[in-house]
């Protein structure tokens, strides 16, 4: 290649786009690294794993008739508990809200600082990072691992491999084990699991998750990010020129030369690039990409190359930040001799934040104002109405009361909308009694007959409203249906 005139920096070629469709996997041996982003990643890993493994054991007192586990998905009883929130199956729309918020947070992260999720918080990244740490601890750093991979199997090597895979399997097993604890009372289930009293489905779930964790974090690693995950593709379509990404500042780095040559050039008053082509950024990369090719699908933007490069820059006496969170706009501006600008308040960040705030506010509002009793009604379809011997008209309904509180409630049912309705709850004595008791955190279905006297003139179809009132607290819930006549 002919060197560009005046040693001006040029943008390095992007990663090859005409690569074959099938490519054999190249094994990565990421080197250990120390620095700011590595520390952040260790701390976040500890926090996330801590939450994941320990949350099932957190207790939350809900009174005598409810489970005391802070976070619990109670599938047999169709309940979801999250600290002070208890959700019933018909409130599943809250999860829609959560998913909308989750998507928007992901988009917002991306608009501000690229693939933050991928680099720091994604379970694939966190567990792979943990598995790499185990591998490094047992087999040594990059060079040793590469060397050992080439050498044959010695007794020591076999021992190392066995130890590594055993520890991986234990972590994977623990991961699956923690997962099932979210679906039953954790301390009880731990005891049952240990004494082989737990249900088969628990062991099966642990087995499956052990297998997936071991495979995904131990063997597939960056392949998941590059080939399996849809987010890099979506992310690439969602990003813009202002989003900060882990960026090789080629305006500073190019042309690459050796330390000595660079010193010579600078002595002559000529410009020399800061990149010394030490390949440390590639060596530490968990996905094995070269960040100097620019933003690319394989880059999960974990910032480890920043740590590696900063360490090298410090050693060669050049300013750090040759690789940094930056964007192409600022590179162009620096090349043009202008000061970089950072723009966080943009249309997309405002919209994402707005949607998050709106959905969050709606969820909070509905959650804080929802009633803890409810009533559902189903009109008999056959017959729609019955004419009685005295000319009265009777309609039959199946009514279900929902008591979402953890104590027994006494509910009174009334109907309005048709003239002088007489209610009869089948099974309640005397016939005029419309008081029903509903057990704690339960529903109760009753058959209700509503009769309108012959004197009342009613239409073919009349709106009727059922109201249920908690006799003690006065809470009410209503539901509308129809009363049919001849």
């Amino acid at each position: 290649m002919v060197p560009p005139p005046m040693n001006m920096p040029v943008k390095p070629p992007v990663a090859a786009l005409d690569a074959p469709l099938y490519e054999a996997a190249k094994k990565n041996y990421p080197q250990s690294v120390h620095g700011r982003f590595r520390t952040v990643k260790w701390v976040l890993m500890a926090v996330f794993l801590g939450i994941y493994y320990l949350l099932p054991f957190v207790r939350w007192d809900r009174g005598p008739n409810s489970p005391s586990q802070a976070v619990l998905v109670d599938l047999p009883n169709r309940r979801f508990y999250f600290f002070f929130i208890e959700l019933w199956p018909q409130e599943v729309y809250y999860f829609t809200g959560l998913l909308v918020i989750a998507a928007m947070v992901l988009f917002l992260m991306n608009a501000v600082a690229g693939r933050v999720w991928c680099g720091y918080a994604c379970p694939q990244t966190v567990w792979t990072d943990l598995f790499y740490a185990v591998e490094r601890w047992i087999e040594g750093d990059r060079r040793e691992r590469m060397k050992k991979a080439k050498e044959g199997l010695t007794a020591r090597r076999v021992g190392e491999l066995a130890l590594k895979h055993s520890i991986w399997l234990v972590i994977a097993w623990w991961t699956g084990g923690a997962w099932v604890l979210y679906f039953a009372d954790a301390p009880t289930l731990v005891k049952d699991l240990a004494t082989f009293q737990a249900p088969m489905v628990a062991y099966a779930a642990i087995g499956i998750l052990t297998f997936t964790t071991y495979t995904l974090a131990g063997h597939m690693r960056e392949q998941v990010c590059i080939y399996m995950c849809p987010w890099p593709r979506i992310q690439a379509a969602l990003t813009d020129e202002w989003a900060l990404n882990v960026t090789y500042r080629y305006d500073r780095g190019e042309p690459r030369t050796s330390i000595k040559k660079a010193a010579d050039l600078r002595a002559l008053g000529q410009k020399a690039g800061d990149c010394v082509d030490c390949l440390q950024c590639v060596a530490v990369c968990p996905t094995g990409v070269d960040i100097r090719h620019g933003a690319q699908l394989g880059c999960i933007q974990c910032g480890l190359c920043i740590d590696a490069c900063d360490a090298v820059m410090a050693k060669v006496g050049r300013p750090t930040g040759l690789i940094a969170y930056d964007n192409d706009v600022n590179i162009e501006r620096r090349l043009a001799g202008e000061a970089p600008i950072y723009r966080f308040v943009r249309a997309r960040t405002i919209i994402y934040t707005g949607v998050i705030a709106l959905v969050g506010a709606v969820m909070l509002y509905t959650l804080s104002t929802r009633t803890l009793i409810d009533i559902n009604v189903l009109h008999d379809r056959n017959p729609l109405f019955v004419a009685l011997s005295d000319g009265s008209i009777r309609n039959a309904y199946t009514i279900r009361f929902l008591n979402k509180r953890s104590d027994l409630r006494t509910l009174e049912l009334t109907a309005s909308g048709v003239p002088i309705p007489t209610l009869h709850v089948i099974g309640e004595e005397p016939a005029s009694r419309t008081i029903v008791a509903v057990g704690p955190d339960q529903t109760r279905e009753v058959r209700v007959l509503v009769t309108v006297p012959p004197a009342a003139r009613i239409e073919k179809s009349n709106a009727i409203t059922f109201t249920v009132r908690d006799v003690d607290s006065g809470d009410t819930a209503t539901v509308g249906d129809h009363f049919f006549g001849p």
Partner: protein, 289 residues
């Protein structure tokens, strides 16, 4: 004439076969595909040995595992019976009057009753138990033989004119056919009966004569006040519900030729628990007394 030749364009080995200068690239099936195929072949062979597979002249090979879909159904049915067993036993033991006081038992009895009703009663009474001409509506509060739980239980068990020794039995005379009443007398009675439920009567018909005829011929069963008698299965003629129609023509027809439906004795066909469940189901349709 196999030889190892590499195709220059694709870099793939050829099979060594050549037709008029056209060579075939050697692109064998992927190994995983091939092994899956072999595994399927082995599976199929084992399956034929283990499970019913080959039709024979009058039977089929039954397989080593002794699998049978008929046996599965039988097992499922047995499991269902076992599942219901506990509650069915409770239902069998429970006093008829107590069933409706127990939420769980009531729900179980109603569910059982609804299914049995659909299978056995719906052909005449309709799936919604609304009946039709000649087949009583079981939702309303008008009962020929009584709408209490016990009365319903009795009726379902032994039927009406079913031939069972304990069946509900009555016979309305065919006043016209037997010649007891003359045609114009029948019209008089019919119009008198119309007037009992507040319906308009035909102009010029002597209602007083009708009343006298009613007292002489009908009141024995239907009562002086015509409100019927459930002991005898005699319908109330003063209300608005008519099994065979409440207009003059229908009444004349009824008085002339008599009426009388038949209901089977279900004790001969259904088990006592199902009959109990049916009684509770019908009782809770709404009309139960």
């Amino acid at each position: 004439m196999a030889k190892n030749e590499i195709d220059a364009v694709t870099g793939t080995a050829t099979t060594g076969h050549e037709w008029d200068g056209i060579k075939e690239l050697n692109t064998p099936l992927p190994r995983w595909w091939l092994w899956t195929f072999y595994a399927c072949c082995i599976w199929a062979a084992l399956y034929m040995v283990a499970y019913p597979a080959w039709p024979l002249v009058s039977s089929y090979t039954s397989g080593l595992l002794g699998y049978s879909s008929r046996a599965n159904v039988a097992a499922d049915m047995a499991a269902l019976q076992a599942l219901r067993g506990e509650k069915a036993a409770l239902l069998a033991k429970a006093d008829l009057a107590d069933i409706e006081k127990d939420q769980a038992l009531l729900a179980f009895a109603r569910a059982q009753g609804r299914a049995a009703f659909g299978d056995n009663c719906a052909p005449c009474h309709g799936s919604g138990a609304t009946g039709s001409k000649g087949y009583p509506n079981l939702n309303d509060d008008d009962w020929l033989w009584g709408g209490t739980l016990d009365a319903l239980h009795q009726t379902i068990q032994y039927g009406i004119r079913s031939g069972n020794a304990q069946a509900r039995e009555n016979q309305m005379p065919a006043f016209g056919k037997d010649g007891t009443l003359k045609k114009d007398e029948i019209v008089q009675v019919a119009n008198y009966v119309l007037s009992l439920s507040g319906q308009p009567t035909r102009q010029g018909v002597d209602l007083a004569a009708g009343k006298q005829l009613f007292a002489d011929n009908c009141a024995v069963c239907h009562g002086e006040d015509a409100k019927g008698n459930q002991e005898l299965g005699a319908p109330n003629l003063t209300d608005r519900i008519w099994l065979y129609g409440g207009d003059e023509a229908s009444l004349v027809e009824t008085i002339t030729n008599s009426r009388g439906g038949v209901m089977p004795a279900w004790a001969d066909r259904l088990d006592p628990v199902t009959i109990k469940a049916l009684a509770v189901y019908v009782h809770t349709l709404g009309g139960g007394r």
